[in-house]
Amino acid sequence: MSAFSTDTLATSAQTAESPALIRERKDRRRALGLLTPGLIWMALFMVLPMVMVVYVSFWTQTTFAVNSELTTASWERFLSSPTYLSAIWTTLRIWLIVLVLTILVGYPVALFIGLFVRNKTIQTALLVACVIPFWTSFLIRVIAWRPMLGTEGAINTILLKLGVISEPLTFLLFSEFSVLVGMTQIYCVFMVGPITFMLGRIDISVIEAARDLGASFGTVFRRIILPLSLPGVMVGSIFVSVMVLGEFATAASLSGRKVNLLGNIIVSQVGSLKWAFAAVAGVVLTIIITAVIALALRLVDLRKEM
């Protein structure tokens, strides 16, 4: 009798699906459902255009038009022209300097907000205060540097009045300097945010424990706080890098045409209908950004740290 009942149980388990299996399938269907809109969006508006850009970069460029005959002429011209190669170099240099500056300016701010302000409300208020400049348009924020840095601008006037200088400093505006200042100011907040977040997650008792074990504040910072906040620095760096590498507006309005970034080249080439050439610059820029992000992710294992 007992053998018989086990038999029937076994067969019924085989014919009817087990609840676990049904549930698993349902979960998988839901996951797919959640993924689909994003996947479609990315495919239509990111993957497809990227493929198109790469494709167009091999098109034939004539003075006022492109045709789809494939050629490497645009690539050859780009890679053999000192103007464009130096644009790559300028882009990388500006990116690195701005990255370092945003870390140098942003980290102490984040340290203050994330670690020294214990009250969550004040923390949030301070972070919001950092974002307030973003309530005006990007262009206004950039152009606002002109009356600040110009030969008759605020800084020169003050320095002249104080007698520190006898004639206006001309390197302040329409130079690489003004581009660096502008970009650092604009992108700093993207560094402050992630670092503050990481610092805010550090358990205060961990810092107290390090102090209790005899470490001075400097040592605690170097050995505990800094390493624990590195993922934040890395996320901030990725934000800043992606934005600075693709920048053109700050350079266009503050450099007086002295600083040519890859972004500026794309804008001017598109402006003069050189689509194939703009596509080459676009592909180069994409490769650089991808390499930078890959490098950043190499340095800190975000999956482990977050």
Binding site: S205, V206, E208, A209, G214
Partner: protein
Amino acid sequence: MLTLSRISRSYGDTVALDGVDFVVPDDTYMSLLGASGSGKTTLLRLIAGFEEPDHGEISIHQTRIDGQAPHLRDIGFVFQNFALFPHLSVADNVAFGLRYRANKALNNDTEIKDRTQEALVLVGLDGFGHRGVSAISGGQRQRVALARTLVCEPRIVLLDEPLGALDANLRARMCDELRAIRQRLGVSFLHVTGSETEALTMGDEVAVLANGRITQSDTPDTLFSQPRTAEAARHMNAWNTFDGTLCDGMSVKGEIAVRFDQMDVSAQGRAPKDHLRVHAQYLTGEFNGPTALSFFRAADGTLLQIIDHLSQPRLPDLIEGQHYDLHFPSNALRQFHGAV
């Protein structure tokens, strides 16, 4: 010897500590018992230097330490949540103090390694050094926290509810081990807890912190059998404290205490004539395995408990809502002089 005199600390209008006088002798396991919110943790944080007292003095061996930066005090602190360094391995956690302390830091890698290894062996974590601190269990983290503190050979070790995060089984085992480790090292431990069982089991001496002061500091058996204040008695969770005027048969004034196991129950009017009596209504019983607790409500609303041991049952069958005479011999009673 750690001495605290007249230590006070307030947070806004809330007084956490109100003139604490307290001595932790050398080579002693001292338990500090207090309810949650009684200021136990505050007291430890003041000693460690994470906070400063509003008034009073803290000194070790007659040298004042309040006002000193925490990393110069040479006091060990074991945190309730362990506070391990999440980005370092077990061995690096333990070596942290040796390597990075401001005073007498070690540069010799072999010596650091040896002493780290010794500390890990001491707490029973031999062979765990290379692990990440997130890859070990709660009990093991507790040991890492302990090893990390002990390896620096502090002048006194403060433990903030060190067993609170462990399950009951592990807690019992860590109790024994903590005592054994302390005895081997000869350093004083100040162990803060809210559990009277833990305090009595662990401490060579037990201090009770109530109303912002140390109300009594004594050996466990003295404290348990002869609490000097009603507060101390209440913290033992074994004494009924009630107003003396509730008693029949003798006029007693002020707050008195009678231990749960020294009270008996009889029907109304049937209590022995030489015993003191309290009229009370039986509320309910609670069966705890080897013991059973019975709850009564006295005339003024005071809750009274009587414990009955399974091996020697002495209570009659009780009916909920019925009134009984609770009685006890006069020598079972403890009277407290003056207000606490």
